[in-house]
């Protein structure tokens, strides 16, 4: 609690537009750059090294939507992370990158990254500032070199102005480039769903009986992994999926520990209703298919998560009416203000 107050007071000093609030019922109005929602944990990101400013945010937004981050100018970050789908690539199991090449994983949403300790389905990147290098240099995503990107930006007059405004000089460096992107991404906080308003007891925060029943089922059957207000414990687990791509060993790719074979990060469920398809490889196109997997097709594989084999049957069993309620609840996590906030849209 003390920490949260500290963070809040810190936020109000550092972040533009954050009004001081003495009570905890803090809602984020669309003109704020970043604030810790009252029902959220403390951020993981170290803002002291990169405080968000209006000009830094604006530079980051321009970069996020700029195709020049890719080899041939066709693929911007937003190509696979589009706002109306909570910054995922809606409808694509795996994304199409440059030259229509496909990767092996489903593009996750970009939301609440300041609260996330690792990135990617396997957690291979531990610092948001270092993240953009990966898609930029991945041959099937943007297939460019970071150095070339900076060179291209140096030739565009627009960026001389934007860097000048954000940093006080025109100089374009790796640090400035990456930190501006972090400023934009950190500002993408989704915390104004109907569920949030319900738990914060705000106007518009009413859940139906069915949704409330769904929430109770969720607490019993899902919240051990999809825990807390981020709806993930940020751990890596094997949920018994059939292996379609043996080479993608998940977390073990990073730890190189066989105990982590085929484990993937527990995803947040915020905006889950509009971020189909699901799983690390986008194999399930509906929430119903996901629940069906947990009901009947969890495989007894070597690294299967213990929580999926403590019952009589593998997986998580839910009756049909329970599934309806669960999905009704999950839909309350959709945050329309976030999805439609014009400040996050293409400049």
């Amino acid at each position: 609690m003390k920490l949260k107050i500290l963070t809040l007071s810190f936020s109000s000093v550092v972040y533009l537009g954050v009004a001081c609030k003495s009570d905890n019922s803090q809602d984020i109005s669309p003109d704020q750059l970043f604030a810790v929602p009252a029902n959220f944990p403390n951020p993981v990101y170290d803002f002291s090294k990169n405080p968000i400013t209006q000009d830094g945010f604006e530079l980051g937004r321009q970069l996020f939507y700029d195709g020049d981050l890719s080899r041939d100018g066709t693929i911007s970050c937003a190509e696979c992370h589009s706002q109306p789908s909570a910054f995922t690539h809606h409808g694509h199991d795996v994304s199409h990158g440059i030259d229509n090449l496909r990767g092996i994983r489903n593009a996750p949403p970009i939301q609440n990254l300041a609260f996330q300790k690792e990135f990617f389905w396997d957690g291979g990147v531990f610092d948001l500032d270092l993240f953009p290098i990966a898609p930029i240099e991945n041959p099937v995503e943007m297939d460019e070199k970071l150095g070339n990107v900076l060179e291209k930006l140096r030739k565009k007059e627009k960026y001389a102005t934007l860097f000048q405004k954000a940093y006080g000089s025109k100089e374009i460096t790796t640090e400035r480039f990456l930190k501006a992107l972090s400023q934009f991404m950190n500002s993408l906080v989704s915390a104004n769903s109907r569920y949030d308003k319900y738990v914060r007891k705000e106007v518009g925060g009413t859940l139906t009986e069915e949704e409330l029943a769904g929430r109770e089922i969720f607490k019993q059957k899902c919240a051990s992994c999809h825990s807390g207000e981020l709806f993930t414990d940020q751990s890596y687990r094997n949920n018994g999926l059939a292996v379609y791509n043996a080479e993608d060993i998940g977390r073990a790719r990073i730890t190189q520990n066989p105990k982590d074979n085929y484990k993937f990060k527990v995803p947040s469920l915020r905006n889950v209703a509009i971020t189909a398809p699901y799983m690390h490889d986008g194999r399930f196109y509906t929430l119903e298919a996901v629940l069906r997997h947990y009901n009947e097709s969890v495989l007894d594989v070597q690294t299967l998560d213990a929580s999926l084999k403590d019952g009589q049957k593998l997986g998580i069993q839910t009756a049909t009416d329970e599934q309806t309620k669960l999905i009704a609840f999950l839909k309350t996590l959709t945050d329309d203000e976030f999805l439609k906030n014009k400040r996050f849209a293409a400049p």
Partner: protein, 269 residues
Amino acid sequence: MKNISKLFLAVFATVVIISCQKEDEIGPNDKNSLSIEFDNRIGDQKLVLGSTKAKNALGEEFTVTKLNYFVSNITLKNENGEIVKFPNDYFLVRQSEANSLIITLKDVPAANYTELAYTIGVDSLKSISDVSQRTGVLDPASYGTDNMYWSWNSGYIFFKMEGTSPAIPANNMMGMTQYELHIGGFGGRTAVTPNNLKTLKFTLAEAATVRKDIAPEIHIINDVTKVFSAKNKISIATSYMIHAPAAGTVIAENYAQSFIVDHVHNDKE
């Protein structure tokens, strides 16, 4: 006359003594630079990228087309056991860039240095540092097409050696025409992952004597055939593609033994 010559002798002797003392004297504030030359060789031959051929311990022929490695955390110990550290000097040795083969430490206090140590790679503290600290050879934007940074598994490639070999299986699954040994892994930030940081220590048979007018150069020979054989016998036929820390451990253990100090130059400026 006699007296004069005596006086002259005395003065002369004094001058000699003073100048002799001066030569050996280590002024408390005297400093100079110290260089380390990395002379990469292939067995008993000069290493010419793409040309020089040699055989490893298993008789597999190979060439080297690329050889890069980071040198960091250099320490020098003088004859009194005092240690001088250079924690902020990171060097990237690239065989293709002649300028990078001699690295220079500046403002080294005058002393007789009898021990040298350095790390091949980028230490864990720097590997997890804020992006503001990643400048110069640590700037991920600086590598062009010869990358020394893993973006998918945050960390630097400590040591990179690539080349040709008839031992690489034809029509291999990965379509590789060259062997690629990319070694990294600093131990992980949020989880324990393989650690391939190697710190090499050398005793200098001939001390490096830093003086106001002496900037020594330590000449190191790195025999790359040992990368395949110093401790672990590596077969190019099976290990032609190493791109992850665990698989690289056997290679790191090898290059930890591939460097020797050959001699030291203590020439006056």
